[in-house]
Symmetry: C2
Subunit: 386 residues, 2 copies
C-alpha cells in the first residue's frame, strides 16, 4: 500500500533511510522510486516480506538496522550541532544530484549558512592525492584561490593533501568552499582537519550523506566521490597516482557528463601519473583557474550578464536582499564593508555574495565585489540592456 | 626554353640553387615546378628578364648570388668533408619532404653512412627549449633512449638544451639519431656541440639545406624546423616557453598532418607553459617512449610483422645483406657480435640494423637485435605466415 507522505513524514522517513541504507544503494533507490518513502519505511520497520532484489540475509540486516534507527533523535542531535537535513523536493536540494539516478543520496546533512542548491550551481571540484607533493599542494591551493576569486565555489573531500590545500586556498582568498565528507558532518574526519572543517562550516558548507556520528569506511569514501562529481560542473584532479580514488571521482564526473580536467606535473612523478593517464583520455589539461572557468563557464552559464539576474529581486531572501542593498553602485567593495552596510558578519556576507553571484546579481573583482551591469540596469526600469 | 636536364646536370643545378635560394623560398619552388631546374639556373645565371613573382631588387640580389655560386667547388668541398648532396629523384631522397610543396628543400646535404630515406621512414622528432631545465633534459634523454631502443630514429636540431639531450639519449642507448642543422653540415653549430655533432655523423646522420660553410641566421632556424617536421612521423615537444621555436616545429608538423605530442611538466614552470598550450589544443600528451610509439606506429606502419619485409632480400645493398646474414636465427644479439660476424664496425652495423628495422627484417630487443618472425619465415619459402 503506497501513498504520498506529508513533507514532515517524508523528511523523517528519509532521515530513517539515511540510517538504514548505505550511500549509493541502488536497490534501495529503486524501492524509493517504485514504492515511495512511506511504504519502504513501513516495510523495513515491519520486517515482513522482503522488498525485491535482496537476499533474505541482506534484508534481515537492513531490518536490524531499521530497528535501531531513531530519526527524531538524529534530527535532534544534528540540530544541536547546527546541522540540517536537505532532501529531494526541498528548495535547497541540488537538482543535479538527481543525475545519480537510483544511486541518488536519500538526503544530505548540511552544516553552514549558505544555500547548497545555489552554491552548487557555480561549483567546481578540486580533488587529488592525500600523500601529495609540495608541488601538488601549491598547485591545488593556487587553483582554488583563483576559482574563488572568480566567484566559483570550490568543492572537495576535506581529506589531507590536495583536498585540504584546495579548501585552504579558497578560504584564504575569502572564497566559498564545500567539504563533502564520508562520515557524519558533526564528526570531522580526518581528526587533524577538525579546525579546518570547522572553518569551512563557518565560511562555507560541510555536507555528507551519513547521519550524525557515523564513521567513514573505504567504500563510503569511494561512494562519497560520486556526490562530489554530481554536485559540481566539473572535476579537476591535481595529483593522483594510478588507480587512485580521485580518478574514480573523475570517471564518475565523466559518466555524469560533467567536465573532467587535470593539472599536469613532471612525468618523473608517480603522483602525476594518474592525472596524465586521465589527460591522455577525455580530460582537458588545465594550468590555472582561468582555464577551468573557460571550460565550465563556457556553456550553460546560469546567468550570463546579457540575460540579467535569473531571480527577481523581490523574491530574494531578506538576508540576501540586505547584502545586495549594501553594495555600492559604482565600484567594487570589500566583503567587510558590505557586511558593515548590511549589519551582518563578514562570513554571513560572503555566503550571501556567492549566492547573489550564482543568481547573476554580483561579480567578484579581485578582493572586492560589485554589482553586475545587468543588476544595475534591472533597478532602473527605464533603461534596457544594449 | 625549358628542357629535361640529365641527372648530373640536375644535381649541379640544384647545388647551384641551394647556394642562391634561401631555405623555404616558395617563389623559387614555384619556378622549379613551372620551368624546371635547367631553365631557372640559366635565367639566374644570365641575369636577364626576372622570373615571375619577385621585385627587380630581389631579382638583382638573386642574380648577384648566382654570380658567386660555384656548384662544382661546393660539391668538392662537401666531398672532402664526407658530405653528399641528396636531391628529389635520388634513391635516398625522403619522399615525405615533398609534402612541403613549393617550400620543399632544393636538396639536402647529408653527412653519415645511413640512408636518409630509409631512416626517415621510422623517425620521430624530439625538440624543445635551448635553455631547458634539468627536468626537461632528463625527460628528453630518457624519451630518446626509449625510442632508440624500440628501433626508432630520433631527429632533432643539434641545439643546446632539449635537442642535445635527445641526441645524447639516442647515442647513449646505441641508437640512431639525425641532426638537422640550420647551417652548412661541415660547420657544426653551436660550436660547443662540435664533438656531439661529430659523434652523430659517425653513428647517425647530420643533414641540412645550406651549402658548405654557410652560417645559421634566425630565419634559417625557423625554416629548418619545417624540415624536421616533414621528415618525421611525429614531433614531440619536451620543454618550450610560450612563443618558442619548438612550437613552430610542432605547428608545422600539425599542418603537415604529422602527429604532434608534448611532454607535460609542472604548471609552475615557464618552460612547460608552451607545451601545455600545445596539449590544450590538438597535441597528445606523452610521458614515455611507449606512448609515442603507440601513436606514431599505430597507423601506416611501414612493415608490420604480419606483412613481412617490404623489400625482397635480393634487392638489399651488399652491406645490409651481410649484416642481415650475421644475425643469429633464434636469439637477440648485441650490435658488436653482429658487426663481428659481418666483418664491419659497430657503427656501420648499427646504421644497417636501423635500415633493416625500417624494412621489417629485424627488431630491437633491449640491447640486442633479432630477426623478425616474418624475416625468418621469408627465408623458408615452404612456410607461410599464419
Amino acid at each position: 500500500m503506497t501513498g504520498a507522505a506529508g513533507p514532515q513524514e517524508e523528511l523523517l522517513g528519509r532521515v530513517f533511510l539515511a540510517r538504514v541504507l548505505e550511500p549509493g544503494d541502488e536497490v534501495g533507490g529503486r524501492w524509493l522510486r517504485e514504492f515511495g518513502v512511506g511504504e519502504v519505511v513501513r516495510r523495513l520497520s515491519d520486517g515482513g516480506e522482503p522488498l525485491p532484489g535482496v537476499s533474505g540475509a541482506r534484508w534481515a540486516g537492513l531490518v536490524a538496522r531499521a530497528g535501531r534507527a531513531e530519526p527524531e533523535r538524529d534530527l535532534e542531535v544534528a540540530g544541536d550541532a547546527g546541522v540540517r537535513f536537505v532532501c529531494p523536493g526541498d528548495a535547497e536540494w541540488p537538482a543535479q544530484l538527481d543525475d545519480l539516478g537510483d544511486g541518488r543520496p536519500t538526503g544530505l546533512w548540511v552544516r553552514g549558512r549558505a544555500g547548497l542548491r545555489m552554491w552548487a550551481l557555480r561549483s567546481v571540484a578540486v580533488v587529488g592525492a592525500r600523500a601529495c607533493t609540495e608541488y601538488g599542494a601549491h598547485a591545488a591551493a593556487t587553483l582554488a584561490a583563483g576559482l574563488a576569486e572568480q566567484g566559483w565555489v570550490v568543492v572537495s573531500g576535506g581529506a589531507y593533501g590536495i583536498d585540504g590545500a584546495a579548501h585552504r586556498g579558497a578560504l584564504a582568498s575569502r572564497g566559498a568552499t564545500v567539504a563533502v565528507l564520508a562520515c557524519g558532518v558533526d564528526r570531522p574526519y580526518p581528526r587533524g582537519h577538525t579546525a579546518l572543517i570547522g572553518r569551512i562550516a563557518e565560511q562555507g558548507l560541510v555536507v555528507g550523506e551519513l547521519p550524525p556520528g557515523d564513521h567513514p569506511t573505504p567504500s563510503r569514501f569511494i561512494l562519497r566521490n560520486r556526490v562530489i562529481a554530481a554536485l559540481t560542473r566539473g572535476t579537476v584532479v591535481v595529483e593522483a597516482a594510478c588507480r587512485s580514488g580521485s580518478l574514480a571521482t573523475a570517471r564518475a564526473a565523466q559518466r555524469l557528463g560533467r567536465f573532467t580536467m587535470g593539472v599536469p606535473g613532471p612525468v618523473t612523478s608517480a603522483l602525476s601519473a594518474g592525472v596524465h593517464e586521465l589527460l591522455r583520455g577525455e580530460a582537458v589539461l588545465v594550468t590555472d583557474a582561468a582555464e577551468v572557468v573557460e571550460l565550465v563557464g563556457a556553456i550553460g552559464e546560469l546567468a550570463p550578464p546579457r540575460h540579467g539576474p535569473v531571480l527577481p529581486r523581490d523574491l530574494l531572501e531578506p538576508a540576501a536582499r540586505s547584502v545586495l542593498a549594501a553594495l555600492p553602485g559604482n565600484r567594487p567593495a570589500p566583503a567587510e564593508e558590505i557586511a558593515h552596510g548590511a549589519r551582518t558578519t563578514r562570513d554571513e556576507a560572503i555566503v550571501r555574495l556567492y549566492e547573489l553571484r550564482a543568481l547573476g546579481y554580483v561579480e567578484r573583482h579581485g578582493d572586492g565585489w560589485k554589482l553586475t551591469r545587468q543588476a544595475m540596469i534591472s533597478v532602473r526600469p527605464g533603461r534596457r540592456p544594449c
